[in-house]
């Protein structure tokens, strides 16, 4: 029975592979001459404005390379991954896919993504990209993704509201203690200092400042041994929630996913801890001048890192990998293209491009570029991308922190429970 089912499954998969070979889009012979007609499929997630300008960049590319035809596929973030999973299972992935840091391990480790090493400095010029930035696309020492832009964590806030909360400015070398004090201070004036931390991201940041990481190097266990780190970190906000200096989780549930309902946009909150590429959208929603501040320390330099906002990756399924690589090169190194992109997918990885488009940027984008440039020399190398199974680990952590902030469990219980669940999930990677 078992074998027969396997056979059936194999037959279906095989047949689909055979078919994919003759389906449109991938039939350009590998290694053909430069002007043979070739068609590529490219997929990304995003919203309206991103779809529009990406199409412009593609049109620009095809006008310069008339032999190339590019078919686009796009969707919202959650729909995108729903679409990609069956495509991967049926060997129907587009030639170029936009990858997220939380998914790239899964797709790379399971042989869906092509190794890009052979294309570097052949089709894809990376001379103007710093080693550490390019290195964020490495998994187990192999290049599977080209970062599209970089991000860094920070605090994005409204300076006017901060003053209204009784604080003149964010001190240059602020600490967690200082943060708690400030949150209490503004909370007493009815202004929420921030809207909470995305648990996995900021816990990882905190761990890094202490010389530890959330996941170990191999991605098959947690990277920290002392649960006191967990309880110390998560107690900070749990206490502030209890004192009503920060929003309760039930309120946050209610407004989840709607930027327009956040306290900062409504004028009842001072700031948000988040990635730098989220600043522009936030500023647009708030429609007031906002500012960026570095994370709190001690040892902020050890904690922060340049994280790719997203990657371009070439799939193993592609029959025109070289052509796909040429397009990625265009995206990374073409000035004209980047004048259209304007850093929407994060600060460009090429220093030459960054300089070339600096004069073309709107004010909030410029603020982000400046902030990232200021942080870049201070940042430490990124930990490896989250391992396979991380979505489950992150969900488990988020659930526990919710219970903690509701006051249903103690930080110690949360720490122990998290260690147990996470270890079980990650052990599968051994």
């Amino acid at each position: 029975m078992k074998r027969r089912m396997l056979g059936l499954l194999a037959a279906v998969t095989l047949a689909s592979t055979a078919l994919s070979a003759c389906s449109s889009g991938n039939d350009a012979p590998a290694g053909g001459s430069a002007d043979d007609p070739v068609s590529l499929r490219i997929a990304w997630w995003g919203s309206d404005s991103r779809h529009a300008y990406t199409q412009q960049v593609i049109d620009l590319y095809t006008s310069k390379h008339p032999n190339v035809k590019i078919d686009v596929e796009y969707a919202s973030f959650d729909d995108y991954w729903k679409k990609l999973a069956p495509q991967a299972a049926a060997k129907q992935l587009p030639d170029i896919v936009q990858m997220d840091i939380s998914y790239i391990s899964q797709y790379a480790k399971n042989g869906q993504l092509a190794e890009l090493e052979p294309y570097l400095n052949n089709q894809i010029q990376v001379g103007d990209v710093s080693e550490s930035v390019l290195g964020t696309g490495l998994l187990g020492g192999k290049q599977y993704g080209i970062p599209i832009g970089v991000n860094v964590l920070g605090f994005h806030y409204d300076p006017e509201l901060l003053k209204k909360g009784g604080i003149d400015s964010i001190p240059a070398d602020w600490t967690w203690e200082k943060y708690e004090e400030m949150a209490r201070q503004t909370g007493s004036k009815g202004l929420y200092f921030d809207s909470g931390f995305a648990p996995d991201i900021f816990f990882n940041y905190y761990l890094r400042t202490k010389g530890e990481t959330l996941y170990n190097e191999e991605g098959n266990a947690l990277g920290y041994d002392d649960d006191k780190l967990f309880t110390d970190f998560f107690r900070i906000q749990a206490d502030l929630v209890k004192e009503k200096a920060l929003r309760s989780p039930d309120y946050l549930n209610q407004i989840k996913g709607v930027l327009e309902e956040s306290d900062l946009v409504k004028g009842t909150g001072i700031g948000v801890f988040q990635w730098s590429n989220q600043f522009v959208g936030l500023q647009k929603a708030a429609a007031r001048p906002l500012a960026l501040a570095p994370m709190m320390g001690p040892d902020m330099e050890k904690g922060i890192y340049m994280q790719p906002s997203m990657y371009w990756a070439i799939t193993n399924n592609s029959k025109a990998k070289e052509e796909a690589a040429k397009f990625i090169d265009f995206w990374v190194n073409d000035v004209e293209a980047n004048k259209i992109i304007k850093g929407e997918r994060g600060v460009p990885i090429s220093s030459a491009i960054k300089e070339a488009i600096a004069g073309e940027l709107d004010e909030p984008v410029k603020q982000v570029f400046d902030f990232v440039s200021e942080m870049e020399p201070k940042a430490s190398p990124m930990s490896p991308p989250p391992p396979t199974g991380s979505p489950e680990v992150i969900a488990a952590l988020a659930d526990l922190i919710e219970e903690l902030n509701f006051g249903r469990i103690t930080p110690e219980q949360a720490a122990a429970s998290f260690r147990k669940t996470a270890s079980e999930v990650l052990a599968a990677n051994k």
Partner: protein, 279 residues
Amino acid sequence: MAWKTIKWPVYHLFAIALAVLMLYPVLWMLMSSFKESRLIFVTAESLLPDKWVWSNYADGWKGTAGYPFMTYIWNSLVIVVLSTIGAVLSSSLIAFGFARLSFRGRNLWFALMMVTLMLPHDVVLVPQYVIFTKLGWLNSIAPIVVPQFFGIPFFIFLMVQFIRTIPRELDEAATIDGCGKLRLYARIILPLLRSSLATAAIFSFYWRWEDLLGPVLYLNSPDKYTVSMALKMFLDSESTSNWGAMFAMSIVSLVPVIALFFAFQKHIVQGMATSGLKG
């Protein structure tokens, strides 16, 4: 006597009060479509807009990512109309077989049909995707539309139940007239099934109209995207969303569904009681 005179006013008062309660959320949505996009959430607690703006409709109608909204409506309509015709026709044929004919294996097939309703769709989605890939149907409406022509269990079961309420004497009369089974189906049963056919058409239309998963999985080219996909494109989880346009086009996208409902609901109420053939 007193009851007779106040009966209708009381009825209407009650019906309207209940309707208002039921419709508050719909009104909220409608009113939001007339608010300035950035004020929708700030003034969420008040139903009426401070200032009525129509620009959301103009804005939304322009569409997303270079395609006018009309493109998405047209794409959806093609899928929905074809699917509905296929689903209603095939389901009534199959239902007649299950309800009026006796043949070996009938109960087994009926049970199998019910079982297909009970397996969560998520786990058959990938193998099905592979089959449609094999058929070369990706990036076309075929994987969404064609299966509808093989009967929809919900409608089949619905029609079976309705056929079973039709007295057998009618069949016998027809059989004496020398009607074959196909003519019995077409001449006697189908006209009497009018109310459930209309019901099935209304449901099918609406279900296909709001379906998001099918189009997301199978349609790749943006020029084939549907209304349900387009509505999501107004939103951006990381930046300002065009909420006004989203609400406005949500309202617009209700129009075909409401129009169809209004046209077909007459048939729902013209059941056997008024169709001239009484049991």
